[in-house]
């Protein structure tokens, strides 16, 4: 099952400059492993000591996986995963 992964500026250079790539996996963790296999070095920018990097937010469709099942969050057919940097919000 291929899942579309949308990546913003900082992460695009890790996947050959593309805005979106497809990868396989039934969980977010498996998806990141598959991306690592295609783009070596990808995962070390996203995962630190087995945890999601604190300045990286991964969204399943539009929901932050930190409030779902984190890296074990399950993926369904047609899901879109977005990887975004943590930025200061306007205020």
């Amino acid at each position: 099952m291929a899942t579309e992964v949308k990546v913003t500026a900082n992460f695009q250079k890790l996947v050959g400059g593309q805005r979106a790539v497809f990868a396989n996996g039934s969980t977010v963790s498996e998806l990141l492993e598959d991306l690592e296999a295609t783009y070596p070095g990808f995962k070390e920018n996203i995962i630190v000591d087995g945890q999601l990097h604190r300045f990286v937010n991964i969204y399943l469709n539009d929901e932050d996986i930190r409030f779902l099942s984190k890296l074990d969050t399950r993926l369904e057919e047609g899901d879109i995963v977005s990887i975004l940097p943590a930025l200061a919000g306007g205020a």
């Binding site: 920018n45 975004l84 943590a86 205020a91």
Partner: protein, 313 residues
């Protein structure tokens, strides 16, 4: 209502039911209209709290310039408080904010510097911190992203008003900027009823945003207590604009663009729960966004560089 100062008119904003958004029986959606504050945003609350606390602690003394990184709303609120209390204010803005904000700041007598090439509020924060480090005796920086009086203002005022007006709240939704609203209101609401869910609406930075030079420049505001949150939903500009427009067309409520994101998030949450009261905090009115043509054009008529990667709250 008789007040002895405009500062006393801060807070006590209306909580209005959005009847046309109540999609299914058992769900009621309410909007807290923070645009009804004196400068038109919720930031009046924290500006007053932060400045009053700094006066009391002695950090802010006569002759010091108040310095603050802001994308607009907090600066405008600080400008009001500074004007009434007789301080000078210097705001550090990212250079991708709407024109109205600089005009408003200057109208209230504040000075403005831009963090050039700023892709986000991050760079405005770093520049303000650098300016403070260089001349620590000249400036007092409230620093809304790290000032405990930011969430305290919402804990003591915003949340109390919600509980007073609607004792049965099931979900609270607000936009994520400094995290002060979600942390302060969320903490107080959960003390009132631990079952209340607190959900953040976060802006999607968009494809055109430059992002960070490196991931290590990422930023999580110190005042944000993520343990208060039960969920975070990211909303892009297109959906935020659509909901902002819908809110005016259906309910006659003229709000800022983050309010559209908050409303879209509240509807998502409402779809998921069987019944209950959902409170959406709408941070500001639409006045500061008129130059975007949001209400007079369709989204696709707007130039991408005008809508993508802009700071909307």
């Amino acid at each position: 209502m008789l007040f002895s100062s405009i500062l006393d008119a801060i807070g006590n904003t209306p909580l209005v039911e959005l009847r046309s958004f109540n999609a299914k029986p058992g769900i009621r959606l309410f909007a807290k209209l923070e645009g009804q504050n004196p400068t038109g945003s919720l930031k009046d609350r924290i500006a007053l709290y932060m400045i009053r606390a700094a006066e009391e602690s002695g950090e802010l003394t006569r002759g010091k310039v108040i310095l603050e990184p802001t994308s607009g709303n907090t600066g405008i609120s600080l400008a009001l408080v500074a004007l009434v209390k007789g301080y000078k204010l210097l705001c550090v803005l990212p250079d991708n904010v709407t024109r109205e904000r600089e005009l408003l700041l200057r109208s209230y007598g504040a000075d403005v510097v831009y963090a050039k090439g700023a892709a986000s509020t991050n760079d405005a924060i770093f520049l303000a911190q650098q300016m403070l480090a260089e001349e620590p005796d000249r400036y007092y920086m409230p620093y809304q992203y790290g000032n405990p009086n930011n969430p305290r203002a919402h804990y003591e005022t915003t949340a109390e008003e919600i509980i007073r007006d609607l004792p049965q709240v099931d979900v609270f939704v607000a936009g994520l900027g400094t995290g002060g609203t979600l942390t302060g209101v969320g903490r107080r609401l959960k003390e009132h009823n631990p079952a209340i869910k607190v959900v953040a609406a976060a802006p999607h930075p968009g494809d055109l945003v430059q992002g960070l030079r490196s991931l290590e420049e990422g930023f999580i505001p110190p005042v944000l207590d993520e343990t208060i949150l039960d969920g975070r939903i990211v909303v892009d500009s297109r959906n935020s604009f659509a909901a902002t427009k819908e809110l005016l067309e259906k309910e006659g409520i003229f709000s800022g663009i983050s309010s559209g994101a908050v409303l879209a998030t509240a509807q998502r949450v409402a779809d998921r729960i069987g019944e209950g009261n959902v409170v959406a905090l709408l941070a500001d009115g639409g006045w500061k966004y008129l130059s975007t043509d949001l209400w007079t054009k369709t989204y696709d008529e707007l130039a991408p560089e005008l809508v993508e990667g802009k700071v909307w709250w």
